[in-house]
Every structure is written in structure tokens, then in C-alpha cells.
Amino acid sequence: MSNSTSKKPASKGRRRFLIDSARTACGVGLLGLGIGIYSKSASSMAPMAIRPPGALDETDFLASCTRCGLCVRDCPYNILKLADAGEDVPTGTPYFLARTDPCEMCEDIPCIPVCPTGALDHNLTDINEARMGLAVVVDQETCIAFLGLRCEVCFNVCPVRGDAITLDYRHNERSGKHALFIPIVHSDACTGCGLCEKACILDEAAIKVFPMHLAKGELGKHYRLGWEKKDAAGESLVTPDQEHRYNLPEGMRYDHTGEGLIFDQANAPAMTTPDAAMEETPFSSNPLDTLKKGIQEAD
């Protein structure tokens, strides 16, 4: 190349550099986009997969879990598993399946302190405070307690017995004389260990543990439960309603708490007819009496 064109290679080199860089940026960028989108879809994990006790909420968990499997190693019951690539759980992260291998709720929670990053919260030291998920009686049509049969297995195996699951006694409409022993789960005590799901006697469990966000509803943020506010304040927070005054004949009262109309027999007005007295109603059987009542009093 002659001297006159000596500038050309340099600019060619620059051009080439820019194009090469753009090419690399494009390729790597596309790959990054793919990984990002994949991670979004992979984060919506299978509802049956339950995280170990103390797991942070899912986003923080996936930000901090190194997928080392130390929790898996230190679980004395070998219930934990790291998700294989291709499973419905983010690759390499720990989970358990309540139906086959529920958490046995060790008192010293050995899976937590070994977690190097705190993806399993080291502040959780009382296993009863764990909220791995929440048991839900998902099917009232097959749960045999609802059919009127005695079971109560979930109630009896619950490690927080009597608190996380209680039995509600209801009338058995079908037989007319028996009781139903209905299991009710309480989220303030249920740890989501899954022992109830494992113990459920059905072929497909009628009580299942779900991750908290699937199991729980959430009140709108604007809701204020008036009765709770009232209890907290010790008095009504709004001007109390004036007690409604009925235009009742003398000797009669109306009770709001369920008694309904009350006759004060001593002060009851004399009944005009024997029929009326028998029916114990303040109103005359003759509609004209009612219409005339005001007029007569005015006179």
C-alpha cells in the first residue's frame, strides 16, 4: 500500500473494531435477554415445591441462594432436594415435597445455620415460627370429615397440635343426629411443614401445603376492621348512633340483640278483644282501630 492511502488501514481498523464490538454486544445482549426472560418464567415455581424453613421471600431467596446444597446435606431426614435442570423449580435451589417428604420440624433447625448466605434466615431459631407454606383444606367434597366420617388424622399428626389445625363441630344435616369434625387450619400457627398432607388418608390429599402467596388472600390495604379499631381505642371512633326509637304502644320494647318485641305485661294496654289477647299482639284485628288511633288520642 502506498503512502497516500496509509490512513485507510487505520480507519478500516476502527470501522472493523466498531462493527465487531456491535456484533458481540448484540449476541451477548440477546443471550442476556434470553436468560433474563427465562429467569422470570423459572421463578414461578411449581406450587407443590416448598422451600426449607426460614427461606426468604422468593425474589430475595433467588438473589441469595448459591445452590450449594449445604441445607440438603444437613437435613437429618433427607427431605430436601436441589432442583435438577429442567424441573419446575429454579435450577439448583432446595425444596421439598410435603406429600412424600414433609419437614419433620427439628427443634435445632440444622438446615438454617449452615446456609452460608442467609438465604435461609439465621434469625429463625424457633421452628414453630417457621412459615414454609400454609396447609389448606382444598377439597371439601372428598375430605371424609365433611362426609360425616371420623378421621381427624391431619389434626392428630399436626406438630402444633390444637393450634394450627382445630376441629370445628358441626351438625350433620344428612344423618340429622351426628356431628361433623371439620378440620380448620389457622395461619397464625401453621408452619407449613406438610405432615398433615403426608398423613391425609385419601389417594390424593384433600389437605395440601401451598406456598404462602398461593394459600393466602389479602385484604385491600384500605380496609379497617371497625371492631378491632374500637377495641384498640377502647371506645367507638365515630359518634355512636342514636338508639332507634320505635313508635311502640306503651308497655312494649324492642330488643336489638335478638329478643325482638317484648311485652311488659303489667303495663300492657287492655286488649280490646279476646282474640287479640290470645294472639298476644298489640294491634287490633280491626285495621280501622289502628287508623283511628292517632285521631282518638288527639281528641
Partner: protein, 303 residues
Amino acid sequence: MARYTVLGAEAIRKKGWWQAHKWLTLRRMSQIGILLLFMLGPWAGIWIIKGNLSSSLLFDVVPMTDPFVFLQMLATGFSAIAAEAVTGTLIILAFYLLVGGRLFCSWVCPVNLVTDASFWLRRRLGINTGANFLRNTKYWMLGMVLLVAAVSGVMAYELVNPVSMLHRGIIFGMGVGWLVIAGIFLFDLFVAKRGWCTNLCPMGAFYGLLGKVSPIRVRADARSKCDDCAECFVVCPEPQIIPAILKGEEKGIPPVILSGECTNCGRCIDICGEDVFHFGLRFDRSKAVLSSGEMNAALKQKL
């Protein structure tokens, strides 16, 4: 001066098989030994080390955490990191800062076994096809990994990272992860020469940056003995880093490979029949001067 005919034959003839395969053998022993150490627990119930390369616990006491994973964790914005991960990361950082960052790639990483096998087969089959990546693509990849972590708020790359996937897979179960590993093998075989480790792996990029400052390096103090057989170029996973050092005597370039991209695999040391290369310290200038002085003397004698 002639180019080699059979790769490594000259070295074996001059130095014997062991000297021509010493570092390669040690390296394979290290790679497989580390895997076995991790497997000893699940297989035999002997828990010397628990976990995997991402995080582990040595003798139930010493925590170790991969600084590349730790960096991703920081990028997600997660800040409530427990002390064990911080200590563990510092331990691993200190180790690789000392011995060479990409020592991880060639002495520890299980994917290296796969890509080395692929490279061996590629040479055997005489495959010369190659997508050409920019050499710095892996640094773009590293940037992308951290960006995706920052944007998504989760360690997204760890969902697909073939390195952690393979190591964890061998210990804990693989699933369809084998397909990813097979993919890398085939990619290196047909698409690009040493495509994954040299061009793409962001983990290698990260450890390469670490390795820029580490004191243990491959030195070419006897570089004047080089007979231009070019075998070191063939076996080196990062051959672009050799010429300047090997041929830089006149330009005053010190005979030590300072590039962070060198994996300290030592294959160049094995393959060189003239024993040009050896492991040494980066600051060992006196020895360099001495040896080049020796070389000058030798040259004068020849003349």
C-alpha cells in the same frame, strides 16, 4: 527450527514421558481429585468437604464461597448477606489472588475436562471450522451476567451456568443438565475452537481479572532456546498471550506471562522440548536478567 510433526513427540524424546506430561497429569489429578473429594461424602459418608463449588464447608468449619457467585449476589442488590459467605468469599479470593485467577479454570473447573476432551477430538478429527469471536467476548458476558442480575434482582445466570450446573449435577443430580454439557462439547468441537472457556465463559473472565495481579506465573526465562516448533501455541488455550513474551527479548519485554488470561495449566511447560517455560514468580526479575545473560553467553559461544 522446523515445525513439529507429531505433537509432543519431541518433548517425550528429549525429556521422557513424565516430564512431557507432568503438569497435565497433576492437573487431571487435581480436577478429578477435587470432584472425588466432594463425592466422598455422598458416596462413602466421609465428609471432608460438603456442598459444591458455589459454596462449601471444609471439615464442617472452613466456609468457602465462589467470589463469582458472591459478585452476582451483590449485583442483585441483596444486602443481608450472612457472615459465612463473606468469610468464604475472602478465603477463595485470597487463594486465587495468590496462585493465579484462572488456575480455577484449568485445575478445578469440571467443564475444563469436557472442553479439553472436545479440543483433543477436534485436533484428532482435523476440524478447523471456527466462528470467530472477539477475544474479549467473555468480558462482555461477565458484564451481561451482572447486568441481568441487577435488572432481574435474582441470580439469573446461575439458572444456566454450565460450570455450577455440571459440578452440582455430578454431586446432587443432573436432570437435563447433561444436554447443556453435551452442547458445550459439541460447540467446542464444531463451532469454535476452545469456544466456551476461551471466548465465552463469564466465570473465566472474572477469574482472569483476578489473575492479573497474582504472583505465580508461567515464565519463559530460557526463551532464547526456543526453536520455533510452535507446539506451545497449539496446546495453549489462550495462545495469543505467548508470542509477545516468547519473542520479546529484543523489545525488552520481561520473560513472564502477565496476562490474566493465562490459566496456569502448565501445558506449555510440558510440551516444550527445549524447556523454555517454567512456573515462577512475576517479580523474579533478577533471574530473568541472569538467564538472558546466560543465553547471550551461549549465543556468543556458538558464534
